[in-house]
């Protein structure tokens, strides 16, 4: 009897704690219902716990009693949790688990947070779809690799004049979307490099083959790990036309202004500067004198006995003489000299960086050219020259007055000569 009990305890210990256990209960205990119940229960506990431990919840747990009941309850709980997890995966966030202590709290918190996160994602998606649909600018999503249209809004259809059906499953090439390959390539290149681009001007073509100038703001996005380009296209075709017109009118305006300025500075008859321009140049040159010690000379030229020309040959011939006279002066002065008609038959030459000697040489050269010229319909004429020069700051009136004084002297001395007056 002692051996029987010892063997029984030893066997129970073996099936309870051992890694490997005998296939069946020893023969000596086959007649004992208690030992058979204990053996079956322990074997059932081992089998069911092993299965549950490996995540197998389908095993039918054999036996009964408190311990087996607890294991069945655990299996039932795990099966329920599995079912609930599947429900959550299908979007049923009403699932809660109770009476499992900390686990219930963690599970329920996870479900609530997951629902909130998914709701946020849904809200964001809805917001995006709402914005995408209602945005007044044409918006399209195309695949980066093939340029295949993934989605587009109503404004896009309106811009390119295609219906939704026309555009389904089409690529950019299919609909001949881009007008210029160079622009298209540059756009792709920019996107691949920086992932985005803003306000890139790209010419596109509508279904009716009309040119549309689009301002593209694009960005690479990922949908299910596939790269796409989302683009908002602003139609600036009309704006571009207005811009071109504006540029053209600005050019015209500038030309007109230039022309008006030239007219306001030019003597209508001789086409050389008028007195207004001469006053301006003289003023500026004398201002410059104040900043340096370079000299300046002013020459006033008067055609001798011009009144007789008018009286004898008429004003028309007189005008021709004035033109021819201005041409002679113009052809014989330096590039830096400024020639203008001072009034009537009087002309003025401003000679920057020129002293009295230098200007006298030029005056003498001019005087000879005039004297030797045979004026059309009139013959030979002469002119008198009055020069004033200065190195110091003075006023235009003072300098002109001195030149005028020298001219008066040349006239007084018999005309056809050069007289000068130095202010230094």
């Amino acid at each position: 009897m002692i051996d029987y009990e010892k063997n029984g305890i030893s066997y129970i210990k073996k099936v309870l704690l051992g890694t490997a256990i005998p296939d069946a209960i020893p023969e000596e205990f086959l007649d004992s219902k208690e030992m058979k119940d204990i053996d079956e229960t322990i074997r059932s506990i081992r089998t069911s716990m092993h299965a549950i431990g490996n995540g197998d919840l389908s095993t039918k747990i054999q036996g009964s009693g408190h311990t087996i009941g607890v294991i069945k309850n655990l299996q039932a709980t795990l099966k329920t949790l599995t079912w609930q997890t599947k429900r959550i995966a299908e979007g049923d966030f009403s699932q809660r688990t109770d009476f499992l202590g900390e686990f219930s709290k963690a599970f329920n918190t996870m479900t609530i947070k997951l629902e909130k996160s998914i709701q946020e994602v849904k809200d964001t998606k809805e917001l995006f779809e709402m914005v995408f649909t209602t945005i007044p600018d044409a918006t399209m999503i195309i695949s980066l690799e093939q340029g295949k249209l993934f989605d587009f809004n109503k404004a896009f259809c309106q811009l390119v004049k295609y219906s939704k059906t026309d555009l389904l499953n089409k690529t950019m090439v299919d609909i001949g979307f881009f007008k210029e390959t160079l622009q298209e390539n540059a756009w792709y290149q920019e996107l691949r490099k920086n992932n985005q681009c803003y306000n890139t001007k790209i010419n596109i073509v509508s279904k009716e083959n009309n040119l549309i100038i689009g301002l593209f703001s694009s960005k690479i996005i990922y949908i299910d790990d596939v790269a796409y380009i989302i683009s908002v296209i602003k139609d600036i075709t009309e704006l571009h036309k207005i811009e071109e017109k504006l540029i053209l009118s600005e050019i015209k305006y500038r030309l007109l202004a230039k022309e008006m300025k030239a007219l306001s500075e030019t003597d209508k008859l001789t086409q050389i500067y008028n007195r207004v321009k001469l006053d301006e140049v003289l003023y500026n040159e004398l201002e410059r004198i104040g900043l340096s010690t370079n000299p300046i000379a002013l020459m006033i030229i008067d055609i001798d006995d011009f009144k007789k020309v008018n009286d004898q040959f008429g004003h028309q011939v007189g005008d021709s003489v004035l033109i021819e006279f201005a041409n002679i002066l113009s052809q014989n002065i330096r590039e830096l000299d400024i020639l203008g008609r001072w009034g009537g038959e009087e002309f003025m030459i401003i000679l920057p960086f020129t002293d009295l000697d230098g200007s006298s040489i030029i005056a003498e050269k001019l005087r000879k050219s005039i004297a030797n010229n045979d004026f059309v319909g009139v013959g030979h004429l002469t002119a008198s020259f009055g020069i004033a020069a200065t190195k110091e700051r003075t006023t235009p009136d003072q300098l002109a007055s001195k030149a005028d004084k020298a001219l008066y002297e040349a006239k007084h001395l018999g005309k056809n000569r050069v007289c000068s007056y130095s202010l230094y």
């Binding site: 036996g63 009964s64 009693g65 408190h66 087996i68 009941g69 607890v70 069945k72 309850n73 039932a76 709980t77 099966k79 329920t80 079912w83 609930q84 429900r87 049923d92 009403s94 109770d98 009476f99």
Partner: protein, 182 residues
């Protein structure tokens, strides 16, 4: 025969509890419920035998399930919504904690467990499952929801040593089709 019946069940028989129990209210203790049920069972069993008693309790549970479905649940065609409602109602009324182990409506199969069951949790262990009333109750709920006949069998029960009552429900029509095919 019909006109001689004394208590044909209607929801009105539950009565106006607020009116009738202004001080004691709408709750009682589990002992009272079990006292009622097991004294009934005892006397009925004495009169008609064990099997007939089980049948009576199954049918009574079924009638209760049909009325419960009509009066305590909101109509829905979504199985998950149905289960959620049922779980909430059973818990709120203290009937038990309903859990779902498996639902396959294509196969017409459901496995449900009820823990802390009003009928049996805490009862002494015996040889047989005792929740025949629950079987009928669950069966009627599923039939009312699906509109097709089901059979429900309790496979684990507190009374047979388990800590939770497990019920397996099978669609009669699916099983019939399966048998015909075989």
């Amino acid at each position: 025969m019909e006109d001689k019946r004394k208590y044909k069940f209607s929801w009105d028989l539950i009565g106006d509890i607020q009116l009738g129990r202004p001080n004691l209210g709408n709750t009682t203790r589990v002992e009272v419920y079990r006292l009622l049920q097991f004294t009934f069972r005892d006397i009925i069993e004495l009169n008609v035998g064990k099997e007939q008693t089980d049948r009576i309790f199954y049918d009574a549970g079924k009638l209760a399930g049909q009325e419960f479905y009509k009066h305590m649940l909101k109509p829905t065609s979504d199985i998950n919504e149905f289960i959620s409602q049922l779980q909430a109602a059973l818990r709120e009324l203290g009937i038990g904690i309903l859990r779902v182990e498996q639902v396959d409506m294509d196969l017409g199969e459901l496995t449900l467990t009820v823990a802390e069951d009003l009928d049996c949790s805490g009862l002494p262990e015996g040889e047989e499952e005792i929740c025949t009333y629950d079987e009928g109750f669950i069966c009627a709920l599923i039939e009312s929801f699906t509109g097709i006949p089901f059979t429900v069998k309790e496979v684990d029960c507190w009374c047979t040593g388990d800590r939770t009552c497990r019920f397996e429900a099978h669609s009669v029509s699916y099983n019939a089709t399966e048998n015909e095919e075989q």
